[in-house]
């Protein structure tokens, strides 16, 4: 069978989302780093032919070619279940309620979280100063969202967002969580007990350790994940 391939950038949360999903399901694949600033590189050219929007990641499994990290994540969760570790629900009502939190991450958590990662993680690496006004606004926005999350975790009482077990609704958050917990904003999580446990649980998963290993191997500028 042809090797499965993931094209992406190790410093992008979208690529990390796809990686976490593949490792979680013990899917064998080869990773092809893509440098979007360097379109002469073969990997990049192949990649651009896979994703019409030119944004990473892209996933190839035989004739199946997919872009958009959350679509890749959904497909991996449904297509590669492991016996006893099915991270999806068969019943539409349960799956519907769990999957809604993927969209909540997309529309409510990710906007402020990614602004904060840009300001507090990426800018310093490039020798730039964070914009305090942007940080302040995003922090306030995120705090409101995290209050909703704390309440949701109280309702599920399982330690997971989607329902009574780990699902894609949880893992979709891990890349941003990883970066945020390395900044002073970790106190937003540490001061919310259920959220704090949830965060620790996600970052301690063996699949996430594998993502970190891969990133470290491929990071050639500087270590961005400690």
């Amino acid at each position: 069978m042809a090797t499965r391939k993931l094209y992406g950038c190790v410093n992008s949360t979208s690529t990390l989302r796809a990686l976490a999903s593949l490792y979680e399901h013990e899917v064998e694949f080869e990773f092809f780093p893509v440098d979007l600033k360097n379109t002469e590189v073969q990997n990049t050219q192949t990649f651009l032919s896979l994703n019409p929007f030119g944004e990473e990641p892209a996933f190839q499994d035989g004739e199946l070619i997919l872009f958009e990290s959350r679509a890749i994540m959904r497909c991996v969760f449904h297509a590669y279940p492991k016996p006893g570790k099915e991270h999806v629900y068969i019943a539409p009502k349960l799956q519907g309620m769990a999957a809604a939190w993927i969209d909540v991450e997309d529309h409510h958590f990710n906007p402020p979280a990614s602004k904060l990662v840009t300001e507090l993680v990426e800018k310093p690496k490039q020798g730039l100063t964070p914009d305090e006004a942007v940080v302040g606004e995003a922090r306030s926005e995120l705090a409101v969202v995290l209050d909703v999350y704390e309440q949701r975790l109280k309702e599920t009482s399982s330690g997971f967002l989607g329902g009574d077990k780990f699902t894609s609704a949880d893992v979709t958050h891990t890349p941003n969580l990883h970066y945020l917990m390395g900044t002073p904003l970790r106190e937003l999580f540490e001061t919310r007990p259920l959220l704090n446990s949830w965060c620790k649980e996600l970052l301690a998963r063996p699949s996430w350790a594998k993502v970190v290993d891969l990133v470290n191997k491929h990071t050639w500028v500087s270590n961005i994940i400690e």
């Binding site: 019409p52 929007f53 199946l64 997919l66 872009f67 958009e68 959350r70 679509a71 959904r74 497909c75 449904h78 297509a79 539409p92 009502k93 799956q95 519907g96 309620m97 999957a99 809604a100 993927i102 969209d103 909540v104 997309d106 529309h107 409510h108 969202v145 909703v148 309440q151 949701r152």
Partner: protein, 223 residues
């Protein structure tokens, strides 16, 4: 008469609400539309926040469950009522669903941001007497142009975004595109691209969308 278990809370003119309505019509699922008077702040009331903790429309109920996020609600409707109405709306198998998901994500990540800004600037803003911002309009027209170029290329090879059949991925575009094509000069960006124009004519003439537009024109249901 038995109570209808499916309830959609929100005004039909809201793009996110109309996305769900189109899906319900497409799947032939009966529902009650419950008005939410946003001008009076009903979407921030404690009762509404129990259904939608972010205070946004729509909120959705089906019997004992409540759901949020219009695209999630559409996926749920397609799965829970798989044997009703358009059976292929969300694909037949995991592979097909994956293609639909990919273009649903493209809609949410690439099409929705510039198109919703333009809907606000060119349609709702003027109704609310909010001054238009030329820079914002131009920037977002430029972004939307790039997205529609990608779509035009895709639709040269495929009747609909995810394949040969109409799917949730196409449906998800209807609300924003409708406002832009029927009420603004952004119509040209769609119609001057042959494949996008053809696709728009097809998807907007579906019965499900016509019924949704009718609801948008009707007075809100009384409680």
């Amino acid at each position: 008469m038995a109570a209808v278990p499916v309830k959609v809370h929100g005004p039909a003119f809201s793009t996110a609400v109309s996305r769900v309505l189109a899906c319900l019509f497409e799947k032939d699922v009966p529902f009650d539309l419950v008005n939410v008077n946003m001008a009076k702040g009903q979407h921030k009331s404690p009762d509404f926040l129990k259904l939608q903790p972010f205070g946004q429309v729509p909120a959705f109920q089906d019997g004992s469950i409540s759901l949020i996020e219009s695209r999630s609600i559409c996926r749920y409707i397609a799965e829970a009522y798989a044997d009703r109405g358009n059976k292929n709306l969300y694909g037949g198998d995991t592979l097909h669903k994956a293609f639909i998901d990919q273009w649903l994500e493209a809609e949410g990540q690439s099409f929705n941001p510039p198109s919703s800004v333009l809907v606000f600037q060119l349609v709702f803003g003027p109704r609310m007497k909010i001054k238009q911002d030329e820079n914002t309009i131009n920037q977002n027209k430029a972004k939307l142009t790039k997205v529609l170029d990608v779509y035009d290329k895709r639709l040269a090879d495929s009747k609909y975004l995810a394949g040969d059949e109409f799917s949730l991925a196409d449906l998800s575009h209807l609300p924003n595109a409708h406002y832009l094509v029927t009420g603004t000069d952004v119509k040209e960006l769609f119609m001057e691209r042959e494949n996008v124009g053809r696709w728009w004519e097809e998807i907007s003439s579906r019965d499900s969308w016509k019924k949704t537009v009718e609801l948008q024109k009707s007075p809100p249901p009384k409680k």
